[in-house]
Amino acid sequence: MSEAAVRLGRPGWSIRRALGVVVLLAALAAVPGFANNYYLEVLSEAWFYVLLCLGLNIVVGFAGLLDLGYAAFFAVGAYTAGIVTLRLGLSFWLSLPISVVAASIAGVIIGGPTLRLRSDYLAIVTLGFGEMVRISVRNLAVTGGASGLVGIERPTLFGYHLDSIGAYYYVFLLLAVLGVVASHRLENSRIGRAWKYVRSDEDAARAMGINHAMVKLAAYILGAIFAAIGGCFYAAKMTAISPETFTFNQSLLILLGVVLGGRGKIPGVILGALVIVIFPELFRDVGSMRMLVFAISLLLIMLFRPAGIWPEKWR
């Protein structure tokens, strides 16, 4: 951190760093110019997981709360978009505010009862919650049961119909960038500091007048909103959603991205998200064994780098 940045009281934004970010974004924006559909598909998925991992990172990384049912919030977003467009016949864009409200309510439902619990119980309650949401969307009529919702209409933005993989590449890239900016702003805000305080010593934080319950609840709600917005666009891109997308393995995959990269550190989480998407693609030749290779790699990384590949520095 440069001296000027320290004086300004915010992380350093030297000219060189700003230039680096601009060049990187320009390069990423230029990708659809030359990449084929396969690469665009994989990269869109990667940006999508960057958003989801950043959202979960608020809960797991910043606030230090374990969440094993994060896919539930993703499901809330995707099904909101599906129900709003298919069942209610409204515009896709309306599903964004509605899903934010729905995700906040879900965040309170999961966060509320668990605030008093020991951290290990959180794991099982969030896992149970994730399964409850999945089984519910599987059994309810409004969510289309086991076959899910099919034929979700793709949205139009300023007269431009978002119907190609190139368009969704930009949508998810933009969402990922917004996610990074939002995470960064949150991390360095009052609530961000409160999260980290509660994470390192809840009792001391309470003694200093931090309302630990509100702070934790805020983490759940904000994390849920990231996933819900991602879920809306996921539904728009896929046009079909089914309960099997939102299994425990999905929650696990997102958590792996966060922990693998380095929970609490934004560049680490981005790296982790890229690893979980790109790694299985690289090992496509190994076929069904690739999850095995993945499990072994994960084990080795955890044994040799328990805080993640690119860990947060603890001050």
Binding site: V60, G64, L66, P113, T114, R116, L117, R118, S119, D120, Y121, A123, I124, V125, L127, G128, F129, E131, M132, I135, S136, R138, N139, D203, F248, L252, L255, L256, V259, R263, S288, M289, M291, L292, F294, A295, I296, L298, L299, M302, L303, P306, A307
Partner: protein, 304 residues
């Protein structure tokens, strides 16, 4: 069927299911009690146990038959093999991370779980494996309810294993060491207890119980597969929490209670079998809100 017979039938189903849950919950609870680790791989050890038992049974059923003469050695071998596997997992994956942040160990446990599931997937190709035995359906009739001898032996075996475990933990030096480690590891080291060995013993016993449950479940349901450990692992943990985690009688009580809850839950109008897991998890969450220490758990004193 009249209502009381339906209820009686569900009571039998619930007890059998509950005794499987209880056996798996015991291992969860023991490991959690001793090293405060949520061992996600525990449910998968149950699955590996079922396959190990199946392997032995298909090898020896040629000359001892597919009855209890084959099943008992299969259970014993499976308990031994999976017990050793549990110790190896602890040695390789968990022991190096004893001082690491809790979340890292938890992720390691998830990785071990993934590893076991995918190895089993690679071996079985994701197919259901038929677990055939030559046990008949003979038994006794209570009204319209038929309870087979097999079912009774299954419940009986579970109960015997649990009683032996309780006697071991409450009555022997090793058991005392386990309980001491649960309270304060560092103090145990100072008092000359071999902490690593005792933890290994905990894994040995917990994993062996899960393996026994796996083989018994294979015998009972007649088919096994590579993901059979996931849901039971989840529910066994639920059972351990309801009973009070770290408490052996609590794990048994929680297991039986959960089994009964699930069996009777399917009879409640509007719940049905497709909603039964939602019912179970909702019950768990409500339970944790109102009684976070479980039925028989000790309230945890948070030290500053």
């Amino acid at each position: 069927m009249p209502l009381y017979e339906v209820l009686l039938q569900q009571l039998a189903n619930g007890l059998i299911l509950g005794s499987f849950y209880a056996l798996v919950a015991l291992g969860y609870s023991m490991v959690y009690g001793v090293i405060k680790l949520l061992n996600f791989a525990h449910g998968d050890l149950y699955m590996v146990g079922a396959f190990a038992g199946f392997g032995v049974l298909s090898l020896i059923s040629g000359w001892v038959g597919g009855g209890w003469g084959g099943i008992v050695p299969a259970i014993l071998f499976s308990m031994l093999a999976v017990g050793v596997l549990g110790v190896i997992i602890d040695r390789v994956a968990y022991r190096p991370l004893r001082e690491a942040p809790k979340l890292s160990v938890l992720i390691t446990a998830l990785a071990v779980s993934m590893l076991l599931e995918n190895v089993a997937l690679a071996f079985t190709g994701g197919q259901y494996t038929a677990f055939t035995t030559s046990l008949g359906f003979a038994g006794i009739n209570l009204g319209m309810v038929h309870v087979t001898w097999t079912q009774m032996v299954l419940v009986g075996t579970s109960v015997v294993l649990m009683v032996v475990l309780e006697l071991f933990v409450s009555g022997t030096r090793h058991g005392k060491a386990m309980r001491a480690i649960a309270i304060d590891q560092d103090a145990c080291r100072l008092m000359g207890i071999d902490v690593d060995r005792t933890i290994a013993l905990t894994f040995l016993i917990g994993s062996a119980l899960a393996a026994a449950a796996g083989v018994l479940a294979g015998v009972y349901y007649g088919s096994i597969n590579f993901f059979m450990g996931f849901l039971i692992g989840l529910k066994a943990f639920t059972a351990a929490v309801i009973g009070g985690i770290g408490s052996i009688p609590g794990a048994m009580l929680g297991g039986i209670l959960l089994g009964l809850l699930e069996a009777f839950g399917t009879q409640i109008p509007g719940v049905g079998s497709e909603w039964k897991d939602v019912f179970v998890f909702a019950f768990l969450i409500l339970f944790l809100v109102f009684r976070p220490t479980g039925l028989l758990g000790q309230p945890e004193v948070e030290r500053m």
